[in-house]
Amino acid sequence: MSNVSKLILQRLILGVLTLFAVSALIFVGIELQPGDLAQQILGQSATPETLAAWRAELGLDLPAHLRYLDWLSGVAQGDLGNSLASRRPVADLLMSRLSNTMFLAAYAAIIAVPVAVALGLLAAMWRNSPFDRGVNVGALSAISMPEFFVAYVLILVFSIRLGWFPTLARIDEATSLGDAVYRCFLPALTLMLVVVAHMMRMTRAAIINVLASPYIEMARLKGVPRWRVILRHALPNAAAPIINVVALNLAYLIVGVVVVEAVFSYPGMGQLLVDAVSSRDLPVVQAVGLFFAATYVTLNVLADILSIMSNPRLRRG
């Protein structure tokens, strides 16, 4: 197992360095944007005196590098700071949004991953059959349409015409799980349609690749049934690329759903980030940005570890 623990350690160190670099990039990016928080909030009604009062209160009049170091030392001590605009602790702001985002991502993943892998396996099994073609055309069509369009079509059919599901995916702490599952069905379905194609095609390609190997031919020759060849012999060897693409899509479900959030008015992290960027609320932007970066780093490490675990030669190495 030394291979794995060495990798984890290496990745953790790299991950921390990545997060540090990301925070610096975010800071520079926000600094390059025209206007600061005071101007964004006051908008047209800004006067020089009110701007000065805002900046003095929030410390926006300090040089940029001092503000960054100040923020960094807070984070190093586990304090994400307060939102500049609403003065509420960033950690509080994040918590409810974070659980909403994770709920929607998990919901979509629970539907999408099994569906994608199953469709991929079946498509590989019946390669070039009408089923394979149909699944491919369907999945590629879904991914080719912008997600807001998919969402509007689903709303038109299921909410406005049929009246089965609500158009607003409103949930809060008081919403029961069953209710949340019902209200978030359309956004989850939208996300599923958007991510299935990638995972399905990768599964199909990986399996077909392995199916060309001599040992599969051997298995076929000795009379193993086709479904067993695929599940027992091909799938374990195709697992690594599939795990990687699943991880990539899981990351997307967490960080890339701001458009779907907007269409269904879902209070997730994406909306929080958009609000925070438009008001230049740096501590909030940083916290959300770091969370998104950490999601990518973690899921990538996880995918690497699982790929190694799924390969006996690497596992023992």
Binding site: Q33, P34, G35, A38, Q39, I41, L42, G43, Q44, S45, A46, T47, P48, E49, T50, A53, W54, A56, E57, S83, L84, A85, S86, R87, R88, L93, S96, Y152, I155, S159, I160, G163, P166, T167, L168, R170, D172, A262, V263, F264, S265, P267, Q271, L272, D275, A276, S278, S279, D281, V284
Partner: protein
């Protein structure tokens, strides 16, 4: 109160009817009969604005979501009535001294906060002072700079001493920033949710939702009819319209005008329009060449096709502007001014008076100024060509438009939400030296009249003065004002409102939560 110029289209007719004070119920003539308020029901609102950066601090209110909460949960000293005048709210009466420089407000004896405490003069003083002083970051700081001192006279009388006379002073106190909070040792707790309004906040998630519940012990008679109010931020226009169509909300603001006629076919919904004070402007810097010549400014004003902007950009939900900022629904509106219309020959005439054959100018624009500003600018450029005026449309980023372009550019697009009275409007954007005088205009006669009219308590004289000032704006000021926009909202036919409502801002001047009810 008649608008001088509207097309004979159906929308135009209705706009006129609204200006006359009628409440519109498109396709629902029957609803006009029922104006007796009824208690009960839950109002669910889908609002365009609202940010996760919103806070309860009244100095920071910057969007409709917070304005609505402000008026529902807290109260102001006075409130604007349907006729545009100040009506009693926390203050039961007020009177100026002889030159309108000192105002005495008597507070109601029965007004209480939601925690049962009685309203005191000191609460009023601390609440207003929150927006004043060097450390204040309030949007109304400059508006309140006319207040020299506020003092209590007993426990239920407050006296405002002004630096100079102001006949409209009570109306300033209708502003949503100036809601009254509880005093805590000389200052207010800006984050507190305890107010004197008809509703209390049960749950507030900035930029997401707010749940309000009616106070059983509300002191104002005949107000606060809904049992509960849910405000939801639904930023996406399609999501907002869908939510209304499927009955998930009862009222939305800013519907998508392009698809509005489709939605209006639904018999359970109706479209509501108000002729407010909102207007779109294209300020020219009167200190910068070539706009420092009044003839050039007149030429530009005659080179724009206003009706085309109303028809094509506002899709009919508006009226043409006449290059002064006073709306037809406002007090002291001057209906006798000749309407500026598209006239390339007149534009050329003014150009030749300025000694020019043609004009090359750049118009900086962005949809941050108003929705459709870029298209309006292109339309303007096309129309102006016939008058030998060549306009280069320079599109600027939406982000930072107000800090980088507005007030700095010699010619750009902008808007004004409007003010309740001519004095407030002129003082904010037209007076010499005003922070937001975006045309850098300094007309001696105008500024003289502005000061004289401010402290004039004779309404006849004031009407004359304001009429002349509107003429001066039209003829000399640098603001090209192509159109006034209507406030448009859409709602379930179950929502009812009084026969006359205040049109200054959208939705009964944002006081709909307290004033409207459910059938």
């Amino acid at each position: 109160m008649t608008s001088t110029n509207w097309a004979t289209s159906r929308r135009g007719f209705m706009a006129g009817a609204a200006a006359g004070g009628l409440v519109l119920g498109m396709g629902m003539p029957a609803m006009a009969q029922d104006h007796t308020p009824k208690k009960g029901g839950t109002l669910r609102v889908g609002y365009t604005q609202g940010e996760s950066s919103d806070s309860m601090d009244p100095a920071t209110y910057s969007n409709d979501f917070m304005f609505a909460i402000s008026y529902a949960v807290f109260s102001t000293l006075v409130e604007i009535g349907p006729d545009g005048t100040a009506q009693p709210s926390l203050a039961e009466s007020w009177e100026p001294d002889a030159d309108a420089a000192s105002w005495t407000f008597r507070l109601r004896d029965d007004a209480t906060f939601s925690d049962g405490m009685k309203l005191r003069a000191v609460d009023v003083i601390s609440s207003i002072r929150h927006h004043m002083g060097d450390a204040s970051k309030s949007g109304v700081k400059s508006l309140l700079s006319q207040i020299a001192d506020i003092r209590a006279d007993g426990d239920s009388t407050v006296v405002f001493d002004l630096t100079s006379g102001s006949a409209d002073f009570p109306l300033i106190l209708n502003d949503y920033h100036l809601t009254i909070r509880k005093d805590m040792d000389g200052r207010i707790d800006a984050d507190s949710m305890i107010g004197t309004g008809g509703y209390v906040i049960e749950n507030f998630e900035p930029g997401v939702r707010a749940d309000l519940r009616r106070r059983d012990d509300y002191w104002k008679e005949g107000r606060a009819h809904f049992d509960r109010v849910v405000l939801l931020k639904v930023g996406d226009p399609a999501a907002r319209m869908n939510a209304l169509v499927t009955g998930e909300v009862d009222l939305i603001d800013r519907p998508d005008l392009k698809t509005l006629p489709l939605m209006a076919r639904n018999p359970n919904l109706r479209v509501h329009t108000q002729n407010g004070t909102l207007h779109y402007t294209m300020p020219m810097n009167t200190k910068a060449a070539p706009f420092d010549d009044a003839n050039v400014r007149m030429a530009v004003k005659y080179a724009i096709d206003r009706q085309a902007i109303v028809d094509k950009i506002l899709l009919g939900y508006g009226t043409v502007g006449n290059d002064h900022p006073i709306a037809s629904s406002m007090p002291f509106y001057n209906p006798d001014l000749e309407q500026h219309a598209y006239d390339p020959d007149k534009a050329k005439h003014f150009l030749s008076k300025a000694g020019l054959d043609g004009l090359d100018i750049t118009l900086q624009t962005s949809d941050a100024a108003f929705n459709g500003a870029v298209d309006a600018s292109v339309l303007f450029a096309e129309a102006a060509r016939a008058a030998n005026i060549n306009i280069t449309v320079d599109r600027q980023p939406d982000d930072g438009y107000w800090s980088n372009v507005w007030l700095k550019s010699p010619f750009c697009c902008s808007y004004w939400g409007g003010r309740p009275t001519p004095d407030l409007m002129f003082s904010a954007g037209y007076a010499a030296g005003a922070d937001w005088n975006d045309t850098h205009w300094e007309n001696p006669r105008f500024n003289e009249l502005l000061v004289a009219a401010r402290s004039e308590l004779d309404q006849g004289l004031r009407t004359e003065m304001y009429a002349e000032m509107q003429g001066l704006c039209q003829q000399d000021n640098g603001s090209l004002i192509p159109a006034f926009g209507q406030y448009v909202s859409a709602m379930s036919t179950k929502i009812r409102m009084p026969e006359r409502i205040s049109e200054m801002w959208d939705l009964d001047s944002v006081r709909f939560i307290e004033r409207w009810w459910m059938a």
